[in-house]
Subunit: 395 residues, 4 copies
Amino acid sequence: MSGRHHLFIPGPSNLPDRVLRAMDRPTIDHRGPTFRALTFEMQRRLRWVFGCAGPVITYPASGSGAWEAAMVNTLSPGDKVLMCETGQFATLWHDIAGRLGLEAELIAGDWRHGADAEAIGAQLQADTGHTIKAVCVVHNETSTGCTSDIAAVRRAMDAAGHPALLMVDTISSLGSLPYRADDWGVDVTIAGSQKGLMLPPGLSFNAVSPKALAASETAKLPKSYWAWQPMIALNEKGFFPYTPATNTLYGVIEALKMMEEEGLDAIFARHARHAAATRAAAAAWGLELQCADPAQASDVLTTLRVPEGHSADALRATALERFDLSLGNGLGRLADKVFRIGHLGDLNDLSLMSAISGVEMSLGLVGIPHRKGGVLAAMDVLAGAPEAMAERGAA
Amino acid sequence: MSGRHHLFIPGPSNLPDRVLRAMDRPTIDHRGPTFRALTFEMQRRLRWVFGCAGPVITYPASGSGAWEAAMVNTLSPGDKVLMCETGQFATLWHDIAGRLGLEAELIAGDWRHGADAEAIGAQLQADTGHTIKAVCVVHNETSTGCTSDIAAVRRAMDAAGHPALLMVDTISSLGSLPYRADDWGVDVTIAGSQKGLMLPPGLSFNAVSPKALAASETAKLPKSYWAWQPMIALNEKGFFPYTPATNTLYGVIEALKMMEEEGLDAIFARHARHAAATRAAAAAWGLELQCADPAQASDVLTTLRVPEGHSADALRATALERFDLSLGNGLGRLADKVFRIGHLGDLNDLSLMSAISGVEMSLGLVGIPHRKGGVLAAMDVLAGAPEAMAERGAA
Amino acid sequence: MSGRHHLFIPGPSNLPDRVLRAMDRPTIDHRGPTFRALTFEMQRRLRWVFGCAGPVITYPASGSGAWEAAMVNTLSPGDKVLMCETGQFATLWHDIAGRLGLEAELIAGDWRHGADAEAIGAQLQADTGHTIKAVCVVHNETSTGCTSDIAAVRRAMDAAGHPALLMVDTISSLGSLPYRADDWGVDVTIAGSQKGLMLPPGLSFNAVSPKALAASETAKLPKSYWAWQPMIALNEKGFFPYTPATNTLYGVIEALKMMEEEGLDAIFARHARHAAATRAAAAAWGLELQCADPAQASDVLTTLRVPEGHSADALRATALERFDLSLGNGLGRLADKVFRIGHLGDLNDLSLMSAISGVEMSLGLVGIPHRKGGVLAAMDVLAGAPEAMAERGAA
Amino acid sequence: MSGRHHLFIPGPSNLPDRVLRAMDRPTIDHRGPTFRALTFEMQRRLRWVFGCAGPVITYPASGSGAWEAAMVNTLSPGDKVLMCETGQFATLWHDIAGRLGLEAELIAGDWRHGADAEAIGAQLQADTGHTIKAVCVVHNETSTGCTSDIAAVRRAMDAAGHPALLMVDTISSLGSLPYRADDWGVDVTIAGSQKGLMLPPGLSFNAVSPKALAASETAKLPKSYWAWQPMIALNEKGFFPYTPATNTLYGVIEALKMMEEEGLDAIFARHARHAAATRAAAAAWGLELQCADPAQASDVLTTLRVPEGHSADALRATALERFDLSLGNGLGRLADKVFRIGHLGDLNDLSLMSAISGVEMSLGLVGIPHRKGGVLAAMDVLAGAPEAMAERGAA
């Protein structure tokens, strides 16, 4: 096929050439002075994007590894954790907790909303014995396109006066949605490289609060690879306890430089613009969003439902075959019922128009009932005053 | 700005990553055995894309250098050449002929049509003394988006029984429009790297017929750098008379491999599809094409006129600033009156939709009168049966 | 500093441009058909290099992660494992086993020899109750430059009629030294990307025998990220249970293609040539090898002792500052007493001469007593008949 | 073959990864604002490396094109030019002059010395009618490894009070040897991209003095592609009269940034160090230098004679086959009698040692009589105090 592939899954996101070129360099000695300088710069830049003052631990691992790391460093066998069933990724995290020997309670959800801060608060208030050791929330549920209000969860925890740790999965939100680990009192922020950070997959992160660090002193789940302590100790000297993924680290620095150049507020405003345009297209087509609460609709991705009796996967196959367009599939119970348009990372208006026009043509080709003109609706948003949009995005 | 730049000028065209990566290699000894193999492979592949059996000479030079080369190798001071004023590039070629000491006659044109084969025939028939030594035609006039029918010019020359050489500028057509140097009796085909061949600028070509080669034996214009004879002699051994642009040559081979994989017919059909979609958008917008004859409308680029009293350059500036979209400017007498959309080289449907949506939004932002819905018209073409389009393209 | 850095640590090794360029590509959908084909090709090529018929599991992780994976998948809390103190890496592995809750027994060693197959056999014969569940051996101890004879360990286990699993760390040997997982009856082979496989760090591997797979059915150590079962199940469909490190996977395929082109026997012979040249230089300089048994001297790296009262790290610092040459440092108890020259991965004779001349000049500059002429001794080896060397290497 | 190729021809030189990566970027609109900024930065940096205040013209062409450009812009048919037969490249330039219709006089030379400033002065003094319009000298004769003293030529011209233009070929010296166009009163400096500038071949340059520019007003040789006037006029606006070789221009800027970072004096000192080491090796081997005057021996390359009855090309073939080492061949009358070691561009001590050890081993393998130990002699130079060398180099 001619031309560039159109990647609009909700991560891995599109890699900027600058990031790819930065990684296209010889590997260096991970115990030498050049590497040390790289570690220090990376840590400084990572703290900036997480909004935290404490250590950010970088694993050569997928995001699921960072979930595991957050738990094995802070919890002991049989500890109780509270989770919210926001969708597939919250469910997976819950499964992991169980496999590690934790008692994981899942507040049921309909996969169409973010985490229910009130329900969390109620559970914590009922837990007078403080048996719940951690509350685990997915900031942006990549399967549904719903966000959770982390600041509200924090307030609910504070209102309950409960000492549980707050762990937040920002794998698909960090660098795309406003996030402030310290301001929101998050104890462990879990993140990955391949979404808003515009990097290839292969790295994941734990940003750790002092409270979480203290918990790690007594946590009893067995751990070696994921152990924070040796990582923090060596990172402070500029090194790692095992051979780090050096070339991807080159990319981290370049990506965070690019983000600094654009500015976090501008980045968030851009994501808001693109999400608004995508939702306008969906509305024009007459397709329902999986996210039932407009206030929770994600600026990272949009999950669209296809009408009963139609196949989202058939649409995706046509988009791929005819237009070299990759769309995200429905996960778990949403399989074949939804498709997902990622509008995160290194993206601009006209690239988004590629995706929207590709979806509109594919809807027609595959025979899913819809109204034409999603592209026009999206263009109306994108051709609107960018400042206004920026404000809306930043708000 | 975030995301990829949208380059839709009519050349340089978008470079495939494969071509960029192929060039991203150490330079090798241009007198060694690896280089020799590279030269032979390149020559074989170049003959394929030109449709010729004779030598193809590769200069480290722009296309204008290859124009000069064609003339200094075959002509003598004061020789008469016949040209057609199809637009800016034909005019520049005419100027070059003059600067080199040739007597260049220009059949006047309106910059809205291709070369007039009948007029050429008439001139040649009138030239009973055979003072005209060469007929020079631009296959695809990049300033206007009009093509010239080279086979028809050949027939007119044959009908006149005139021995003039036929020189054709395919700088913006080779690899995008059907072209067959030998079948059409072209004596010197002039081409460049940065258009249909999907390469960076910096190389240009002369594909040479036996008749042109014979003419070069007696041509008296001074020449050194452009001289065919030492080039051909050394190329036959796998080398060059001066240090060639090795890294770009790596790219030539990779680009021609990609073209072989896609197939020339498929490539031409794709260009036809994209041109049809672009013209459909123009019609929907109500913008006039610069090319006045639909049969001559180029599949390489589309030149659109803005209504009197409006500025094409203002449109282009808005497209660039707001949407990171580069459109081609009006050249020479068309300055600010037209803009050009290149749809050549490494391109696919959804990338074209980027450009078309960017133009539509920019038309609105800059206040050029137009009807909305060019994007819908383009999508109707692109979502049509690809086979049918392919046939139309190849026809 | 001008020119290329000279990286001669025993891994990460030098990355071929072909591998770097292969990774310099957009990330693709890890749930799409192109990715599936990539997974299948990668698995086929990995089995070839491991010499195994069973599954090879690929983790986004460092080699230490793959150690952990081997144990948590096959063992239960309190299980006994037998290890040999061949050097720093064997010691680290032993520490990990302890942290995971295993009872790890370490056969003491002097850090100057490989694993003692006889001692292993004796321990197993004494273990009549079969309480030892796994024997863990480091094939190439990267801290000392000593190899262990895996086939001999296998024979000792068989002679003892003991059912323990055999786990082998080939992190720094795979692709550099002859290795045959199935032929030698290895149950879990642990490997990493950044050594003989000529890849950046960030991936590690478990090649798994049917016996190990059976053990994983009943193993009770908690696990989620490292769990083989979901990995194998999804790999069989061409996918992964979590987002894989796609861009590094591109590199895996390219590196293994290169290895197939060169041929494993030729690769091993080349490593043997380079090791012989390096040892010849060491002998000429009068520096002692850390490896006390010439039959166990590694073809991957050479660890040289500096005379008492001299600092290996001072030598390394001079080599780095004056000659942009990175040498490996002494690890653990060998700190500052030895330096290590890696001669693995993508290397050839003249690049090795860079390192040897850099070491010789640095020895002089830093005032370590030595005889000049190590370079001449190395050249005598390298200019010798390559076929003879190849035979020696393959022997 | 494993590992990196060892390229030690006297140009094209080794490309730094930074330069290759800088070129590995999409081509941009050569008529847009980003390109304009690029042109201005490039011009500023080029003037710095040439040591001139006037325009530097950049051609997509080889160095031989820039020779032609220098002449066609300043001279008229039949004009007399004075040249010195320093070697193959001076001879080629002389041939070009003849082909362009100039009367080119060549002061005979033995190919073992630089240009004879005294002889030039004598010729000019004898030319009382000022029929000589230009003196053309090769600064660094790449075929012989002899340099010419340009300042001395200037003094001789001044002493003769002769108004001829001074044209200097710095193709293989610019960026490697001290050069100051304005200080030395050079009217046209001819240069190329692929040597000291660490770029791929494909660009060449004319740095033009006001006097040369004045001459171009009346020069009558036909020209179009090479014409300075339109180039200068458009360059001043940030553009080019024809599509420039954009991607190589990216490389120009990156290479000149690197040169600024290292510093010209440091670069020249480095070349002097490497040349001294190479000559020390040659002396140790007992091989004669082609350059007969040590004061003229080039710091860019060293041309070594093989003893009568031996074949330099056999040596080169062995170096290539056995050690993947490319050495420069003997050109013209020196074919098979000499080989050339390039030590220019992006190079450091240990890479040079690769070449020297490769030559020493190849001398042995091919049976050319020599003494062993060239490597030791080179190391003695390279391990010497770098400051001392730097001073020697800068002197």
